[in-house]
């Protein structure tokens, strides 16, 4: 049987593979089909907390982000007013410092967790998933650390 296959290719001489009942083509498979052994259970509440966090942070973010947008873009002059002086003015008040800090943290964690879901959904290979998530984690951590530093070590007199 096995010898016939190569022969057949030569005989037909075309690019069409010689599929037959004895030598069928591979079937069309979806990614990551479930089997008896998958998925392995981990027994943690992580996904639940993640889910809850998305909702809770979402509600808080509505206030923070919409407030932020209003101030930045709508109230007196929009983006046009934004500049170093404007930022300096705002961060002079701890209220705005904490506002922005909370926004930064929540948005990054919310968005980061959201992206984690997206990666889980679309990255088919386990390897790719690990890599992408590492990348994501680094980006989020970096942004949060950087952002927090900026807010707290901000020096209006740098000029």
């Amino acid at each position: 049987m096995s010898t016939d296959i190569t022969d057949a290719v030569e005989l037909t001489g075309s690019s069409v593979a010689p599929y037959s009942p004895e030598n069928p083509a591979p079937v069309i498979e979806p990614p990551r089909a479930r089997t008896k052994r998958t998925p392995r259970s981990t027994r943690t509440n992580f996904e639940m907390y993640g889910w809850l966090f998305m909702r809770l942070s979402g509600v808080v973010l509505v206030v923070l982000v919409i407030g932020h947008l209003l101030i930045q873009l709508v109230l007196d002059g929009g983006v046009q007013k934004v500049g170093f002086a404007f930022v300096a003015g705002r961060w002079a008040s701890p209220f705005w410092q904490y506002w922005d800090l909370a926004m930064l943290w929540l948005a990054m964690l919310h968005g980061g967790n959201g992206l984690r879901t997206v990666i889980n959904d679309y990255a088919e290979q386990a390897n790719t998933r690990v890599w992408l998530k590492t990348l994501l984690f680094t980006a989020v951590a970096f942004t949060i650390v950087l952002g927090s530093l900026v807010i707290f070590t901000f020096d209006p007199n740098i000029r």
Partner: protein
């Protein structure tokens, strides 16, 4: 109450209409079927079939006409032909349907009607997909009554309200229309999928059952209910009219309330 013998001629109208309309006038439709036969080719392809059919007939009838009169190699599953066995979930005009519950007249016969296998499960031949992963997910949620202690001698009592609580999810016929309509499932077959959750729901909310905690634990995991993104494709697809997303949300809420 009408008296039993009073003539009900006034009620005849619509039934009569139906009768007259059924005095069959045939129309010609094009069925565009996604075909795949690994014994012939590694590629799936669209094949058009034109056939005369009564618009009151089902898409399943059209498939049968093709198989019986045009091309006997067309392969699909079917059994009951009236929407209760769950054999023939396919994608008709881009949406999951039972071929036996979709009438030609309800889907615009002017344009070609596309019929393709459901998404996210291995296509084995034409419209036939591998159902094993689907049933595996079903088995993995322990879809059976779990009780402790001694069996009662008579039936377990259950109030009509308690019975009503899980009525919706008892209707499931395991057709997989929901699971294979779920965008999360298309990309990750490890997700339990709505059908498995529906069948877990059926027991979690059964007042006689005592295994709810175990099932919730299983569905709490990374491929469990939390993967659902509430896209409602499952609810739209369910031929039994089960409010699938609602059931999933109830399971999520049950998990949260039990964990806190």
């Amino acid at each position: 109450m009408s008296t039993p013998n009073s003539p009900t001629l006034d009620k005849h109208s619509s039934a009569l209409d139906a009768a007259e309309n059924t005095a069959s006038h045939l129309i010609t439709v094009t069925l565009r079927v996604r075909r795949f036969n690994p014994e012939v080719s590694a590629e799936a392809e669209w094949v058009d079939y034109r056939l005369p059919i009564d618009p009151k007939e089902r898409v399943l009838d059209a498939l049968h006409k093709i198989k019986w009169e045009i091309d006997g190699t067309l392969t699909f599953r079917r059994s009951c032909a009236h929407g209760v066995c769950g054999s023939d979930a396919v994608r008709i005009n881009g949406r999951n349907r039972l071929a036996c519950k979709t009438l030609i007249k309800d889907i615009n016969p002017e344009k070609p009607i596309t019929v393709e296998p459901i998404k996210g499960l291995t296509v084995l031949k034409d419209l036939v997909v591998d159902m094993d992963p689907f049933f595996q997910a079903y088995r993995d949620v322990m879809p059976f009554l779990i009780t402790k202690g001694n069996e009662p001698t008579r039936e377990r009592l259950q109030s009509a309200e308690d019975r009503e609580r899980f009525d919706d999810t008892t209707k499931c016929i395991l057709c997989a229309a929901c699971t294979s309509s779920c965008p999360v499932f298309w990309n990750d077959g490890q997700y339990f999928g709505p059908a498995a959750i529906v069948n877990a729901h059926r027991f979690i909310f059964d007042s006689r059952d005592e295994g709810g905690e175990q099932r919730l634990e299983i569905l709490n995991d990374k491929d469990g209910v939390w993967r659902c993104r509430t896209t409602f494709n499952c609810t739209d697809a369910c031929p039994r009219g089960i409010e699938v997303t609602k059931a999933i949300q109830e399971v999520k809420r049950a998990l949260i309330t039990r964990r806190f």
